[in-house]
């Protein structure tokens, strides 16, 4: 296992449009880091640059302290799991998993031991003489992971490994990958566009957008203290509510409704500045508690989820979503009072989208 360091890593094709802009990032030994972002944000390109499958336009990639920019993939001691599994269709599962070891001239009994160990771990030991075409999607993905495990590489790279699976299988495989990481203690870099995967798997998440690193932190910090409106809107389902407001003394004015911002430092925000007020759906409540302030709203839409109901409400000119108890059944148009604890509110600069003040509690 090894650590990975990216320093000012950039990528451009034909010297024109930049796909990645000076990414700095450290992955610690044994850490599970997830690159997450929408399609086209550059996350897969960044992973492929670490693997050596894409050239590095500028900057430096280090694996285990060694600069690997000029090294081909086979010399980087990494293993990669691909989105389409990339299993060799003409080889049996055993041959697929043993391929990398045979190329490295590993003794045959050692190959057999490692393949059998990985196959048992992944519960595919009974089908090693089959070819990939005879397997289900989930089994193929297990083989692809097994092929990576047997190599015992310094770093595991996963490129959207679950996106070709159906929802139920995706959940199962997600838990298996998490368990695998706990068991192997491997350094893993994992790319996904699914923020649930990112939140559940990662020790740290790097949120990317438009080739920029928007935030790199623990899932908890990313969720509760988003650095930008993009992160606030991308992480969380439903995402953080973002409402336009203006700074009015020590309060945010939501068009008549004032949210006090006492004891917050809002560096650089002048009186009257255009802001965005962010609040997570679970922090909008229908019952007062503690220091909550009241916000007049009206029900627009109910989306029952069984354990709870997502209620879309009209708040001034904006629409917000609140996570309410399943018993809530007020019909659309009903006026209600929303309660929010001011310490759960995040504030962003409306123009740049950067956070001015994070919630002080969660």
């Amino acid at each position: 296992m090894a650590d990975v360091a990216l320093r000012g890593v950039s990528k451009s094709y034909d010297g024109r449009s930049d796909v990645l802009h000076g990414i700095d990032l450290d992955v610690r030994h044994g850490e599970f880091v997830v690159f997450v972002g929408p399609s086209g944000c550059g996350k897969s390109t960044l992973l492929r640059m670490i693997a050596g499958l894409e050239s590095i336009t500028a900057g430096e990639v280090r694996i285990g302290g060694q600069v690997v920019n000029a090294l081909p993939p086979r010399s980087r001691d990494i293993a990669m799991v691909f989105q389409d599994y990339a299993l060799y269709p003409h080889k049996t599962l055993f041959e697929n998993m043993a391929f990398g070891l045979r190329l490295r001239k590993t003794p045959e009994d050692e190959i057999r031991r490692r393949v059998m160990d990985a196959a048992k771990l992944l519960r595919i030991d009974g089908m090693l003489d089959r070819r990939p075409a005879a397997l289900s999607g989930g089994q193929r993905q297990r083989v692809a992971i097994g092929r990576a495990i047997v190599r015992e590489p310094k770093v595991f790279l996963f490129d959207e490994p679950l996106s070709n699976l159906d929802a139920q299988l995706r959940n199962e495989m997600r838990s298996e990958i998490k368990r695998l990481h706990q068991r192997l203690g491997a350094t893993i870099i994992y790319v996904t566009h699914d923020q649930v995967e990112a939140m559940t798997l990662a020790d740290r998440i790097a949120v990317l957008s438009g080739g920029h690193r928007m935030q790199y932190d623990t899932p908890d910090a990313i969720y509760h203290r988003p650095a930008t409106t993009f992160v606030a809107g991308f992480i969380g389902a439903p995402p953080m509510n973002l409402v336009d407001c203006r700074l009015d003394g020590d309060a945010a004015d939501l068009g008549g409704v004032r949210v006090p911002l006492a004891s917050r430092s809002l560096a650089g925000a002048a009186r009257g500045a255009a802001l965005k007020l962010g609040v997570r759906p679970e922090n909008l409540r229908l019952a007062r508690a503690g220091a909550d302030i009241a916000l007049p709203a009206a029900v627009c839409l109910l989306e029952p989820l069984g354990a709870e109901v997502l209620v879309t409400l009209k708040l001034g000119a904006a629409e917000v979503v609140a996570r309410c108890p399943a018993a809530f059944r007020e019909p659309p148009g009903t006026p209600v009072t929303l309660y929010v604890d001011p310490s759960h509110v995040a504030l962003f600069d409306a123009a740049s989208g950067t956070a001015l003040s994070a919630p002080s509690a969660h």
């Binding site: 499958l53 990669m80 691909f82 990339a86 299993l87 190329l103 092929r147």
Partner: protein, 297 residues
């Protein structure tokens, strides 16, 4: 059950027969009848000049063919051309396909260049190469001279061994592009991620070719070999236009001998016998290939 009932419905069956009849009739007319007619004809002495009319001779024509050195020589030339040009065209075609599959900025000029020899008529290619190999004016001797090989210019098409080699080179040039087109289609079907996985696994370019490209290309290779072998067994146009089968029958193929016997000597009975022999040869080779194809996973 409803579906079965419908199929068993006599009306439906009649309709099916009526709809299939034109295709069967056409097939019978252009495939079954000519083959049947040739087999039938091969049992007759049917010389159109100087013979004894249309006379049933049983297996006499086959007995004559069995002792006919010209038939065995032409058969051997045909087999030799097949054994030399088919693997050579496969190797050259595979090289061209790999080249055309490289990430060129503009792919269409490469693919057009690949298509041109294939699109050219066979007789045309034969005539062009006959000029290339011309003793005095040919580009081949010119290049040989410029490379510093002195002495008398080689008489490519006038010496048996060289003429056979020249015919083979021409056939390989003409047919490699067809091989390349089929193999290129196969190459483009191999997912890029397999090569990336192999690269990460530690495979060199040669190992990637041996472990991924070749096995995954095998179905395309078998298809290309079937088509090319069948046409190689029917080789006619190129040797006919380059050498007329000469010098001294050194480049005469079975198809040329059939043509000579039937058209030049007007011996339709014996010509048919030779045609049946060629048909049997083609059928045997095709059967072997198809069995191989059925085993390909």
């Amino acid at each position: 059950m409803a579906i079965l009932d419908r199929v068993r419905d006599p009306g439906e069956r009649t309709l099916a027969v009526v709809l299939l009849a034109p295709a069967f009739a056409l097939l019978a007319l252009i495939v079954v009848y000519p083959i049947g007619r040739i087999i039938y004809q091969s049992f007759f002495d049917a010389r159109l000049s100087g013979g004894h009319g249309h006379r049933f001779v049983g297996l006499d024509n086959y007995r004559i063919a069995f002792h006919d050195t010209e038939f065995w020589t032409a058969t051997w030339h045909t087999v030799a051309i097949t054994l030399i040009t088919v693997p050579a065209a496969l190797v050259v075609g595979l090289g061209l396909a790999l080249l055309a599959n490289l990430p060129f900025r503009r792919r269409w000029p490469v693919r057009l260049a690949l298509l041109l020899p294939w699109a050219m008529p066979l007789a045309f290619a034969g005539l062009i190469f006959a000029w290339f190999f011309h003793t005095e004016y040919g580009i081949v001797n010119d290049v040989v001279r410029r490379l510093g090989a002195g002495g008398e210019p080689t008489m490519w098409l006038l010496r048996p061994g060289w003429a056979f080699a020249a015919v083979c080179v021409t056939i390989v040039w003409k047919t490699s592009s067809f091989m390349a087109l089929i193999l290129l289609a196969g190459l483009t079907m191999i997912p890029r991620s397999l090569y990336e996985a192999a690269e990460v696994d530690g495979a060199s370019h040669f190992q990637q070719f041996r472990e991924i490209t070749l096995p995954m290309l095998m179905p395309s290779i078998v298809v290309a070999l079937i088509f090319r072998t069948i046409t190689a067994l029917q080789t006619f146009d190129i040797p006919y236009t380059m050498t007329r089968g000469g010098p001294a029958d050194a480049t005469e193929t079975l198809a040329m001998l059939i043509h000579k016997t039937t058209i030049d000597y007007l011996d339709v009975g014996y010509g048919s016998t030779l045609a049946v022999a060629m048909f049997v040869l083609s059928l045997a080779v095709t059967t072997v290939y198809l069995r191989r194809l059925a085993r390909t996973p």
